[in-house]
Symmetry: C2
Subunit: 327 residues, 2 copies
């Protein structure tokens, strides 16, 4: 018979979760933050069942990995290169199998082994649907990346491929693809991995920090592409009050990505990609694209009312990018 | 017609919530923590509809107040005398009226005006039930209160009345009272207020910090009585591996509290009180009870397997105190 968390009771549940947490923190409700003499960044993210994850396509380990890594991506794209700690708020129906909870924490643990940080506290409650609230804290060292830091003349840099996660989702849910094509097994594998096990662009951040030309100050605009490539550029334009001109041919595609242009939509607006989208002083952008193989200059920033155009002056459809409305 | 958050859409909703937050934080998903050179404490608490709050007995302003103050109480009872910041994770059904959300934030705002702190970030998602996840950060100055800090010989101090919130809940839900008595209008008022607008014991913490005798080191065990007076003492005994001997006659009651002993149950195990329950070196305990009118020495700590006894050696019923099982 499956042991549920109701069978365990709260005390035993918390006892079993101890091994995933910093020693000694579970006795009190509160945790100490070891962060003397550091600038900190903090981020809270919610994952709600059926909205952000579904057990039909992701197992608990993948969900655990994803809820930690999406938070890390928010820290990374703000400039944090050192992940310090997490608190986890967990709402679960009483009939949730213990094994599910254990797998969830194992997935979180795997992500923390890869990217750093530790769970230092949290809260647990029953509720009708599963819900995970993660607060992540990271150390901040220059440059602090803001959406609002872009200036006319900056180059726009993307640090990797887009669309893979969207394709992965389609494959996992047996959704109809944009056109009938034969996908390579490698692309299929990469797409599913991108969806189930997103990988924050922490190496890209390191490269960015390491390649700033001396002539350039620590000013960089940035966000991640978790809501889609175009949406991330739209928010930079919005916050920086400027326009973006993009070169369609410069946007990198996975080598096995279908050639048919109907597939571009997922690259532009697929979402759940976790690359850095940056607006940088030209020299810094060039240095980054030289240093980091996957980084590509895909456009530039100019003055004007917030908007995005292709370099043939065609307007980019921004409407389609607002896929991630939560209400 | 009532405007719902679905009518507003996410962007407008976030725009309208801006006035409750630290300026400039909403543009990025991330917030900066102004905490250089400080020791920090962090706490995450969940409030789930129908489990922790019910709209039938509390309006949104009260819920907002309560979700901030219960978090503050966790910080205070760990030794934090300065509340710095909050992040708010909010899950709401799409048909939630905007007015409800506004009132929720107004209640949070009122609590922050009273106790300090500011909202610096958060996340918002739709979901089938309402859920609020608050992460609170406070500055820590000595003494750091731990449940595990008690030592044999310590006096146990309670900083105020218990049972009021439980009575308030009963009155609000028209629950049958322990016995038929005429309650004074003042007691009724205090009970309902205690339930709807809990008040963290921040003044008691200040008094504690201010009255330590020079002969005594900064060692103090403490927690709040949010899960009930006896439960708070049980957890101190558990964490400190010791016993508590309590004097029933020393436990303070509201002056209008019914005399019938059947009502004691709510004082001992009612829960949702937010007093400090401390185990202190004798001299410090005496100094505190002299300095703070509402503070009372209610027992002492002795060696032995974790347990609680009355001073007539009768065992305290701990079973009844486990009211706050969440599963």
């Amino acid at each position: 018979m499956t042991t549920t968390i109701k069978d365990l009771g709260e005390i035993e549940l918390l006892n079993r979760l101890k091994r995933f947490m910093r020693c000694g923190q579970i006795d009190d409700d509160i945790a100490e933050l070891n962060a003397i003499n550091k600038s900190l960044l903090i981020n809270t993210d919610l994952l709600v069942e059926k909205i952000h994850f579904s057990e039909e396509i992701s197992d608990a380990k993948d969900i655990g990995w994803k809820c930690i890594t999406t938070n890390i991506s928010d820290l990374v794209c703000s400039g944090s290169d050192k992940i310090i700690s997490f608190t986890v708020g967990l709402v679960l129906p009483p009939n949730t199998p213990w094994k599910w909870v254990e797998n969830l924490y194992e997935g979180m643990w795997e992500a923390m082994q890869e990217f750093g940080g530790e769970i230092i506290g949290g809260d647990c409650s029953c509720g009708e649907i599963k819900m995970i609230s993660i607060t992540a804290i990271g150390e901040m060292n220059p440059p602090r990346l803001h959406r609002g830091n872009a200036l006319p003349g900056d180059y726009i840099v993307s640090t990797g491929f887009h669309g893979l996660s969207r394709l992965g989702l389609a494959l996992l849910t047996f959704e109809q693809l944009p056109s009938e094509v034969q996908l390579s097994p490698e692309l299929t594998k990469r797409a599913i991995k991108a969806h189930k096990r997103p990988y924050p662009a922490i190496k890209a951040l390191e490269a960015l920090k390491g390649c700033r030309p001396e002539s350039t100050i620590w000013r960089a605009a940035g966000t991640d592409s978790s809501d889609g490539l175009i949406e991330s550029i739209r928010t930079i334009c919005q916050s920086s009050n400027c326009q973006a001109i993009l070169s369609k041919t410069s946007i990198l595609k996975d080598p096995d990505w279908p050639k048919d242009s109907i597939w571009d939509e997922w690259i532009l607006n697929g979402g759940e990609d976790y690359e850095l989208i940056l607006a940088l002083p030209k020299e810094w952008a060039k240095a980054l694209s030289k240093k980091l193989k996957s980084a590509k200059i895909i456009g530039f920033i100019k003055e004007g009312k917030p908007n995005i155009f292709w370099d043939n002056l065609e307007k980019v459809n921004i409407e389609q990018s607002s896929l991630y409305k939560h209400f």
